[in-house]
C-alpha cells in the first residue's frame, strides 16, 4: 500500500514515523516548502542567531532513507480523488492508496490596502524567514501587526538585532483574549521594558508604497504614520486549504478540512490532520481547529494507527500549551479563561518583580481543580494532568502543590505563597505538605497506574 502525505510539518512527519513503526507500507511525504522536516516553532532562533538552519531539523538527513520514508519536494496543485492521484504543479502525478493531508496553515490577511506589497509578510514558512533575513539588511524600523504569539516572536527577533520595532496590538492589553488580565498586564509590561514599542488599542489601516512596490510606512487607525521598511502581518493563521477547495470539491471543508473522530474526511481513504483539519465534533471544551504543535503531533500518531488498520479516535486529553514572551515563559494546563465565568475562582500569586506568577483555577461550587496558568514558573505536565483528570479538589492540590513544581534545582519555591493566598481568600488554614520533589511526584504518578 502506498500512503501519500501532503505536508512535511510536525503532523505529516509524525504520521509517517508512526506508520513506519506500525507497518511496511510505502510512504511518501510531499512538501513544497523544504526538502526536510524542520521545526516551525523554532524559526525565530535561526534568525536571532541562536541556531543555524541545520539545527532546526529534528532528524539527521539520513534518517528518512534509513526508515524508508520517501521525501518529495513539489507543490500539489490538484487532488484527483476519483483516480487516487495527486497532480503536481509541474503536471507530473503520483498515485496513492491512502492520502493524509497535513498542509498546515497560512497567515491571515484582512484586506488592508498595501498588504501585498514587497516587504510585507507574515511569518510562517522557511521562505518567510528568508524574506525577513533579506529585508533586515537595510531595515531601520519595523512594524508588526497583530498581538498573538507569532507577533511577539517577530518583535523579539527584530529586537535581537537592535532594529527598532513598533508592535501594533488591537486589544487593550497584549493577548488578553487568552490570558487573564493580570498575566496580560505582566506581558505587556515586559514587552515595553524589553525595549519594544508596544502600541495597544491600535490597528493597521494602510500600508504605503514607496513607489517601487516596497512598503515604506504604515498608517494606523489613529491616523499616525510610522515610517518603516518592513511590515509583519501576524494577525493569526487559517487552514491552508485553497488548493483543495479549487481542485477537490468533494472533500468537505468548513474553515478547515472537516474530519470525524478518526480524522477521516468526507472522501474515503483521505484523512486530514494538524493545522488544516477541522473536527466535526470536538471534545467538550475544545475548539474544532487547534493550530498548535502538540495537537498536530497527536493527530499524526492517531491517524497512523487508523490507516494501519487499528482505527483510533482522536482524543487529545487535557488542554495544555506553552510559549515564551521575550524572557517570560508561559505554561497552561486545563481551563484558564481570560474572562472567567462567575463560578471559576482563581488563586493568583505574583512575584513582586512582576515577571513570575502562578494562577490556580477551581470551581467555586464543587472545589474541583480546573486549570493552572504559570508565568516564569515551570510545572509538571503529568502531575497537573492527573489532578485535572481526576478532578482533584483544590485543597488536595494546594497541599501537595510542590510535586507539580518543575523549576530547576536551587530555584526558590513559591507554593507556600499560593497556599497563603488561598487561606486569605477563604479564611482557612491550609498547610503546604509537599515541597518540590521528583520522588514524591513519581510516587503520586505511579499510584495512578497501580505500580
Amino acid at each position: 500500500m502506498h500512503i501519500a502525505i501532503i505536508g512535511n510539518g510536525i503532523s505529516g512527519i509524525t504520521a509517517a514515523r508512526f506508520i513506519r513503526k506500525l507497518s511496511d507500507h510505502k510512504i511518501t511525504v510531499i512538501s513544497a516548502e523544504t526538502d526536510y522536516f524542520f521545526s516551525r516553532t523554532a524559526i525565530m532562533y535561526a534568525y536571532m542567531g541562536h541556531m543555524r538552519k541545520e539545527d532546526l531539523k529534528p532528524y539527521e538527513d539520513w534518517f528518512w532513507k534509513k526508515n524508508r520514508i520517501d521525501l518529495k519536494r513539489g507543490f500539489v496543485s490538484k487532488i484527483d480523488s476519483q483516480n487516487k492521484s495527486l497532480i503536481f504543479k509541474d503536471n507530473s502525478n503520483m498515485t496513492y492508496d491512502k492520502l493524509i493531508i497535513a498542509c498546515g496553515s497560512t497567515p491571515n490577511k484582512f484586506g488592508w490596502p498595501g498588504q501585498d506589497l514587497d516587504r510585507v509578510q507574515g511569518m510562517y514558512s522557511m521562505q518567510d524567514l528568508d524574506g525577513m533575513e533579506e529585508a533586515s539588511k537595510d531595515l531601520k524600523h519595523a512594524v508588526i501587526v497583530g498581538g498573538g504569539l507569532i507577533g511577539i516572536e517577530m518583535a523579539e527577533m527584530f529586537h535581537s538585532r537592535h532594529i527598532p520595532t513598533t508592535f501594533l496590538v488591537r486589544e487593550k492589553l497584549y493577548w488578553n483574549m487568552v490570558l487573564p488580565e493580570a498575566e496580560s498586564k505582566m506581558v505587556s509590561r515586559h514587552i515595553i521594558e524589553s525595549g519594544i514599542n508596544l502600541q495597544l488599542e491600535t490597528e493597521l489601516k494602510e500600508i504605503i508604497d514607496d513607489g517601487t512596490g516596497k512598503a515604506c510606512a504604515a498608517i494606523t487607525n489613529k491616523g499616525e504614520r510610522i515610517d518603516c521598511q518592513f511590515v509583519g502581518l501576524t494577525a493569526g493563521v487559517h487552514p491552508n486549504i485553497g488548493f483543495i477547495k479549487e481542485s477537490a470539491p468533494e472533500i468537505e471543508v468548513g474553515r478547515g478540512i472537516l474530519v470525524n473522530e478518526q480524522l477521516e474526511t468526507s472522501v474515503k481513504d483521505i484523512y486530514a490532520i494538524g493545522d488544516c483539519a477541522q473536527l466535526r465534533n470536538p471534545n467538550e471544551g475544545r475548539r474544532p481547529i487547534e493550530a498548535v504543535w502538540y495537537t498536530g503531533k497527536m493527530m499524526g500518531e492517531t491517524v497512523a494507527y487508523t490507516v494501519c488498520g487499528q482505527p483510533q479516535n482522536y482524543n487529545p486529553s487535557i488542554w495544555f500549551n506553552s510559549a515564551k514572551f521575550v524572557d517570560i515563559e508561559y505554561q497552561v494546563y486545563g481551563t484558564v479563561l481570560a474572562k472567567a465565568p462567575e463560578d471559576h475562582v482563581s488563586i493568583y500569586w505574583e512575584h513582586p518583580e512582576g515577571r513570575k506568577s502562578i494562577r490556580i483555577v477551581y470551581d467555586k461550587n464543587t472545589s474541583e481543580i480546573l486549570g493552572f496558568n504559570l508565568m516564569g514558573v515551570r510545572y509538571r505536565h503529568e502531575v497537573c494532568e492527573k489532578w485535572l483528570k481526576e478532578k482533584a479538589s483544590v485543597e488536595t492540590v494546594l497541599q501537595n502543590l510542590g510535586i507539580a513544581n518543575f523549576d530547576p534545582e536551587f530555584y526558590k519555591e513559591y507554593e507556600e505563597e499560593v497556599v497563603k493566598i488561598y487561606n486569605k481568600q477563604t479564611g482557612k488554614n491550609l498547610q503546604l505538605k509537599q515541597k518540590r520533589s521528583l520522588t514524591a511526584a513519581l510516587k503520586f504518578l505511579r499510584n495512578a497506574v497501580g505500580v
Binding site: E54, K57, K65, E301, S317, D327, P408, F410, T439, A448
Partner: protein, 595 residues
C-alpha cells in the same frame, strides 16, 4: 554595545597584544653566577662549553639565536660528559649526576635564569600590563551585562565570527592535521622509537574503520555537525592561538620565559619558589576561570543552578587546585591537588608520586588514602547520588575552564550520530589505555621489572603523558574550543569521565526529566549541549535522558523555551529511569499520557 564594554574590549585587546609581543622582548645573557643548575658536574661542563662557544656573558637580543646557541652548548656539554664517562665516573658520584640524560631538561631553567630584558627587570610592571589590564578589560566588558534584563542571552552567537564555528571540511582538515602532527612529533618525542606512534596510528585507523564501515556511518553523512557555509575566522584564529600556546607550554617552554617571569613574584610569595611554566599555566587558568566565571553568572543570573555551580568551579579552581598546593609546598609538604582523581590524574600511581606521598609523614599518607578513597568509594557514591555532574561541572578544573572560558563555544559540539559513535570508542579506549598503563607502571613499581611482555612500562607512561596528558587534554582539549566546542576533551578523551559515565549510565539516581508533551522540537537544548547529546531526540518523544556523557551542566534545561527539561535525582526508579515515555501517545485505544 555599551560604551564601557567597548573600552573594556579595547583594553583587553591591548593587554593580549602586549602579552603576545612580550615573548619577543626577552634579552639574554648567560652569566656564571645566574645559572641555576644544582648538579655540579653538569653546571661546570655547561659553563665551560658556554665559554668555549662564546656564549658566556654575551648579550643576545633575540630568543631564537640565544636558544639555538644554547642548544648547541648543551649538546656539546652532554657529549663531552659522555666522553669523560667512558674513562670512568669519579668515585662516589651517581651516574645520573654525571651523565646528562636529556638536554631539554635544562633549556627552560637556563633560559629563564639568563633573561635580562625589561620583563626580567620589572616583572610586576609587566604582570600588571598584561594580566592586570587583561582582567580589567575583561571585567569592563562583562560587568555592564548585569544591567540588562535577566534571561537567555544567545542572540547573535551564530552571527559572530568568534563563536559560529567551522565549515565541516575545514574542521576535518584541522582534526587531520592535529592527529598527524601529534603522531609525527611523537616520533621525535619518543627518540625515534616507532612502536607507540605506530600503535596509535593503527588505533586511529581501527576506530575510523569501525565507525565508518562496521557501524554504517559512511552513508550517514552528518550534515548537522557543521554547516557548509559557516566559517568563523575569528574562531579559527583563536583556536590557532590556543593550540600554539599549548605547544609552547608543553614542549617548548624555553620560548615563553617572558610570561613565566611575569608571575615569578607571585610564585615567590605563594610557595617561596620561582615560577615554572606550570605555575604560569595555573595562574592564567585560575584568572580565566574567575573572570569568565563572572561572565557566566552575568549570563545566567536568573538561573540559580548555574550561579551556584559556577561559584563552585571558581572555588575549587582557586582554592583547591591553585592555592592549596602552593601553600603545601611552602610548608614543605608534597604538592597535591585534593580534587584531582585517577585516571584524570594519571601520574597518581607513578613511582615518584607514590614515593613522595609515602615518605612525607602522616599528611602524605593521608593524601595517598584520600586519593584512593575518592577513586574507589567517592566516585561511585557521589555519582550514584548526584550523577556525573558532582564532579564534571561542579568540581573539576577541566570542567571549570570549559564552563567558564568555554561557555561561548558550547554550541559547537557535534551532535551527529557519527560523532557519538566516535565518542564511545575513543573515550573508552583512553580509559582502557589509562588502566593498562597504570597496571604496567605498578607492576614495575612493585617488581622493579621494566619489561612487561613486549612493552617497556617507562615508555608506555611517557607516551601516555605525551599523547593523552598533553596533546589530547591540552592542545586538543582547550585549543579546539572554538573549533569543536568546549568539551572536546571531556567528551572524547577524559578517562575519568569515562569511568564516572559508566556509573551514571548504569547506577545513578540522576536523570534529566522530560516534562510531558511540552517539547516543541525547537532544538535549543541539543544546540547548547556541550557534550553533543541530541537532547531533543529524547525530549520530543517524551523520554527522560540518561546518557553516560551528560555532565549535568543544566544548560539544556536553562535554554529550553518551554520548560521541558529538569535535572533531578530520585532513588525509586534507578533501574527503570529510561522506561517512562512521558509524551502523549496512543495507549489502549486512547491518547493518554503514558507513565
Amino acid at each position: 554595545m555599551h560604551i564601557i564594554q567597548k573600552i573594556g574590549l579595547g583594553i583587553f585587546v591591548i593587554a593580549l597584544a602586549l602579552f603576545t609581543l612580550s615573548l619577543g622582548m626577552g634579552k639574554y645573557q648567560l652569566s656564571a653566577d645566574s645559572i641555576d643548575i644544582s648538579k655540579e658536574y653538569h653546571k661546570k661542563e655547561i659553563l665551560e662549553k658556554a665559554k668555549a662557544n662564546g656564549l658566556l656573558d654575551k648579550r643576545y637580543e633575540s630568543n631564537f639565536t640565544f636558544i639555538s646557541d644554547l642548544k648547541k652548548t648543551l649538546k656539546d656539554a652532554q657529549q663531552s660528559l659522555e666522553e669523560k664517562a667512558k674513562n670512568g665516573i669519579p668515585e662516589g658520584v651517581y651516574e645520573w649526576d654525571f651523565r646528562m640524560g636529556n638536554t631539554k631538561d635544562y633549556m627552560f631553567g637556563v633560559v629563564k635564569s639568563a633573561s635580562v630584558g625589561p620583563i626580567a627587570q620589572n616583572p610586576m610592571r609587566w604582570f600588571m600590563l598584561t594580566f592586570g589590564l587583561g582582567i580589567l578589560g575583561g571585567l569592563l566588558y562583562i560587568l555592564p551585562k548585569f544591567i540588562s534584563l535577566p534571561g537567555i542571552k544567545n542572540n547573535g552567537i551564530y552571527h559572530n565570527s568568534l563563536t559560529r564555528g567551522l565549515q565541516f571540511n575545514i574542521r576535518s582538515i584541522f582534526l587531520g592535521l592535529t592527529i598527524a602532527g601529534t603522531i609525527i612529533y611523537g616520533i621525535f618525542y619518543m627518540n625515534h622509537n616507532l612502536l607507540w606512534p605506530a600503535i596509535t596510528t593503527a588505533m586511529v585507523g581501527l576506530i575510523s574503520w569501525l565507525v565508518f564501515f562496521r557501524q554504517g556511518s559512511k552513508e550517514n553523512n552528518p550534515q548537522r555537525s557543521a554547516s557548509p557555509d559557516i566559517t568563523g575566522w575569528l574562531g579559527v584564529l583563536t583556536g590557532v592561538y590556543l593550540i600554539g600556546f599549548y605547544i609552547l607550554l608543553y614542549w617548548m617552554p624555553e620560548y615563553i620565559t617572558s610570561w613565566v617571569l611575569m608571575v615569578n613574584p607571585l610564585s615567590l610569595s605563594l610557595s617561596g619558589n620561582g615560577a615554572s611554566q606550570w605555575f604560569l599555566y595555573g595562574t592564567l587558568y585560575t584568572i580565566i576561570v574567575l573572570v569568565m566565571g563572572i561572565r557566566m553568572m552575568s549570563k545566567y543570573r536568573h538561573n540559580m543552578y548555574q550561579v551556584v555551580r559556577t561559584c563552585s568551579v571558581m572555588f575549587f579552581q582557586t582554592a583547591i587546585a591553585f592555592l592549596l598546593p602552593e601553600i603545601l609546598v611552602r610548608l614543605n609538604q608534597p604538592y597535591y591537588d585534593f580534587k584531582n582523581i585517577w585516571p584524570l590524574n594519571y601520574s597518581f600511581f607513578f613511582d615518584y608520586n607514590l614515593d613522595t606521598l609515602t615518605s612525607s609523614g602522616s599528611l602524605g599518607l593521608f593524601m595517598l588514602v584520600w586519593g584512593l578513597a575518592l577513586m574507589i568509594i567517592g566516585v561511585p557514591l557521589f555519582t550514584y547520588f548526584f550523577g556525573k555532574r558532582w564532579y564534571c561541572s561542579w568540581v573539576c578544573g577541566c570542567g571549570g575552564l570549559a564552563e567558564t572560558m568555554g561557555d561561548p563555544y558550547r554550541q559547537l559540539s557535534d551532535k551527529s550520530l557519527r560523532a557519538w559513535k566516535y565518542e564511545r570508542y575513543i573515550i573508552h579506549g583512553v580509559l582502557l589505555f589509562a588502566v593498562v598503563m597504570t597496571l604496567m607502571v605498578l607492576y614495575t613499581y612493585f617488581t622493579g621489572n621494566y619489561q612487561v611482555l613486549i612493552f617497556n612500562s617507562d615508555s608506555v607512561r611517557t607516551w601516555y603523558g605525551f599523547l593523552i596528558g598533553s596533546a589530547f587534554a591540552g592542545v586538543v582539549g582547550t585549543g579546539f574550543y572554538p573549533l569543536m566546542g568546549n568539551r572536546t576533551w571531556c567528551r572524547f578523551g577524559c578517562p575519568l569521565a569515562g569511568y564516572i559515565g559508566l556509573v551514571q549510565r548504569f547506577k545513578s539516581r540522576f536523570r534529566i526529566t522530560t516534562n510531558g508533551n511540552q517539547c516543541i522540537s525547537c532544538g535549543n537544548c541539543s544546540t547548547y549541549c556541550e557534550m553533543g547529546i541530541d537532547v531533543r531526540a529524547y525530549a520530543q518523544k517524551g523520554q527522560d535522558i540518561v546518557r553516560s556523557s551528560c555532565v549535568g551542566c543544566g544548560v539544556c534545561s536553562a535554554v529550553c523555551p518551554r520548560g521541558v527539561l529538569r535535572l533531578e535525582n530520585s532513588s525509586i526508579d534507578v533501574d527503570t529511569r529510561t522506561d517512562a515515555l512521558r509524551a502523549l501517545h496512543i495507549k489502549d485505544g486512547e491518547v493518554t499520557l503514558m507513565q
